[in-house]
């Protein structure tokens, strides 16, 4: 994102401002539903931003990213079930568990590329799904109810919808900034170069494997944070959070929003979830439209919404 006053930049800024000011709107109109919806959007936006780090910038097409939502969520859920309610314990555990899983999966998967990589990340994430679904003690297939949200210091109370919303927004904005710095750093250039032409990167002197693995771990950890947030948002975790089709949903958000920028995925999350709300009001079979829509985006609008917005400038500026 450069500083120029383009249509795209205006839209992005407006979106970020709107997200920050949303609770004020809710207060004025009393429309709590919007707050609930957007809390979910912000959390999934965080997950999508983390995915784009490896997908858009790193060119690593992982079809198992939703696994970290599950791992982060269940870290909170399991600890709460066992009586540990402190967020200072739960959340670091969620991050750590996600990081370890990403490290192990990444170490194995990143030795492959292309189609193999896609299938392998998918398979390992499913493995995690089955493992968690097999934990009868923690609800198994039925899921696990969380009776008490993560506790931090007073006055921070995550059961307060507005406070929780702002925690999510703060973390999202923090993540966006982090990813922004990451992709423009030396590390980020190596990741982008590796996406563009990995063989060449190795030929000029970069041991790319270790950088890509690090990127993979960072992305997984960030997504684990989103998982912990989901657990608190819904007071419930279930293995379906990490089913491989959820990974597909995340990928849709990233592609729909735009893979080439840091905020693209957030745009995608907003677009997808708002679209879902609008369409499901019209028909319960809205996914029948979404499916072909995705195919069309893939065929004709690869840059996603962000790409389309950026083109407005190009044409106007000529």
């Amino acid at each position: 994102m450069n500083g120029a006053l383009t249509v795209r930049n205006i839209v992005v800024c407006a979106l970020l401002v709107a997200l920050v000011l949303l609770p004020a709107y809710v207060k004025l109109t009393g429309n709590i539903f919007v707050l609930t919806l957007f809390t979910r959007i912000v959390i999934l936006g965080l997950a999508a931003v983390s995915l784009n780090l490896i997908l858009g910038f790193g060119g690593m097409m992982s079809f198992g990213h939703a696994a970290y939502l599950g791992i982060g969520g269940y870290a909170v859920g399991i600890l709460a079930h066992e009586g540990v309610y402190s967020g200072f314990v739960q959340w670091p555990v969620a991050l750590f568990a996600s990081a370890v899983f990403a490290l192990v999966i990444g170490a194995l998967s990143l030795r492959t590329r292309g189609v193999y990589f896609i299938m392998i990340t998918l398979a390992f994430a499913q493995m995690a799904y089955y493992v968690i679904a097999g934990l009868a003690r923690y609800g198994g297939d039925d899921g696990l109810t969380i009776y008490k949200r993560s506790q931090f210091f007073a006055p921070l109370d995550l059961t307060n919808k507005v406070q929780f919303y702002y925690v999510c927004v703060a973390l999202l904005l923090g993540a966006i900034y982090l990813v922004h710095r990451l992709v423009n750093s030396r590390f980020g250039l190596v990741i982008q170069g590796s996406r563009s032409n990995d063989l060449r990167m190795r030929a000029i002197g970069f041991p790319t494997y270790r950088y890509r693995l690090t990127c993979f771990v960072i992305a997984g950890t960030l997504c684990g944070l989103a998982g912990a947030l989901i657990a608190n948002n819904t007071d419930f975790v279930s293995p379906s959070m990490m089913y491989w089709t959820r990974s597909g949903d995340l990928i849709i958000m990233v592609v729909l929003g735009g893979m080439g920028s840091v905020v693209g995925p957030l745009i995608g999350a907003v677009a997808l979830l708002v679209l879902e709300e609008l369409l499901s009001g019209i028909t319960e079979y809205w996914q029948i439209i979404l499916g072909p829509l995705l195919l069309l985006v893939v065929l004709f609008a690869r840059g996603g919404i962000d790409g389309l917005l950026s083109q407005i400038r190009a044409r106007a500026g000529a």
């Binding site: 097409m61 079809f63 194995l108 030795r111 492959t112 292309g114 189609v115 193999y116 896609i118 299938m119 392998i120 998918l122 398979a123 390992f124 499913q126 493995m127 089955y130 493992v131 968690i132 679904a133 097999g134 934990l135 009868a136 003690r137 089913y243 491989w244 089709t245 597909g248 990928i251 849709i252 592609v255 079979y285 809205w286 996914q287 029948i288 979404l290 499916g291 072909p292 829509l293 995705l294 195919l295 985006v297 893939v298 065929l299 690869r302």
Partner: protein, 306 residues
């Protein structure tokens, strides 16, 4: 004890052969058209749904199955003409995304047409019996017929791959349009037929398992993963690899689920064994895949790729 073991081994073979039918279609399409098709599982689902409906409609299991197979073939070819054609030659990411969109479409379409509940496909009485395969050992006639049919299909596929021009292309791992054209083959038609064949194989697997397992939305997504694991283990593009890997996966999964709880009880407390068993048995196949990846990342029988 041994009877149970033999029965489980046969179940492993049966499951493996079913998986082979599914994986063969997947790997065939990838080998010839270089296309990653996530919606392959949807064709599996469609086969099962067609079979359930057509069997009920015609009153005959076999007739219903054959019609369902034809219907799935047609659906497959239609999908190829309408959607897949535009994906050839593109990035694999595009394939994954596009076909994922198809999954959503098919799941909703099925829900629209058949409702969210799922269907059942009861076995006709002549199949719903046991057969004595060895002195003192009975086995489900239907499961036996699955094994027979699947082996027959595998044999036909083998002949196709080894004895025909199309087979030559498969073995060469050819996804080069020029080479195909040079052999005097109408490439558009070839691709449509190959995709249709893959769809038919998936549909066959779907309808055969329907009486014993399930006919419901999302069944394709569940089993697709196993098909992927098999193609990774066997080597993408290799039918022979898919066959071996499918049998391996079928065995490991079936026997693992049966015997793992007992094995675990040898080393863990009964309680711990009961908790760990389901989770571990699910993991088994992926552990096998992980081991194969470490030892031979290209798979056991990788086809020659460009």
């Amino acid at each position: 004890m041994t009877t149970l073991f033999i029965e489980q081994c046969l179940n492993g073979v049966q499951f493996g052969l079913l998986l082979f039918l599914l994986a063969a279609g997947l790997t065939l399409v990838f080998g010839i058209m270089d296309l990653v098709n996530l919606a392959h599982g949807s064709l599996y689902m469609v086969g099962a749904y067609f079979a359930a409906t057509l069997t009920a409609w015609t009153g005959s299991f076999v007739l219903g199955a054959v019609l369902a197979l034809g219907a799935t073939l047609l659906v497959g070819m239609a999908v190829e003409v309408i959607a897949m054609r535009r994906l050839y030659g593109r990035d694999h990411l595009d394939h994954v995304l596009g076909t994922f969109g198809l999954i959503l479409f098919f799941d909703e379409a099925v829900r629209l047409i058949w409702g969210p509940e799922g269907l059942s496909l009861p076995l006709p009485s002549w199949l719903n019996t046991s057969v004595t395969i060895l002195p003192g050992i009975q086995y489900s006639a239907y499961r036996l017929s699955i094994i027979v049919v699947a082996l027959a299909v595998a044999a036909v596929l083998y002949l196709l791959v080894m004895r025909t021009r199309v087979g030559m292309l498969i073995r060469a791992g050819a996804s080069s349009r020029e080479m195909v054209g040079a052999l005097g083959v109408n490439i558009k038609l070839l691709y449509t037929l190959v995709f249709g064949l893959g769809a038919a194989l998936a549909g066959l697997a779907g309808l055969m398992q329907a009486p014993i397992l399930t006919v419901q939305i999302g069944m394709g997504e569940n089993i697709l993963i196993l098909a992927f694991v098999i193609t990774v283990i066997g080597g993408i593009g290799s039918i022979r690899g898919a066959f071996i890997a499918a049998l391996l996966v079928g065995f490991v999964d079936t026997l693992g689920r049966s015997y793992l709880p007992d094995i675990l009880r040898l080393v863990l407390s009964p309680n711990a064994a009961a908790t760990a068993a389901p989770a571990l048995s699910s993991m088994l196949i992926y552990l096998v895949m992980a081991v194969v990846l470490v030892v031979r990342p290209e798979g056991l029988f990788p086809a020659v790729r460009k």
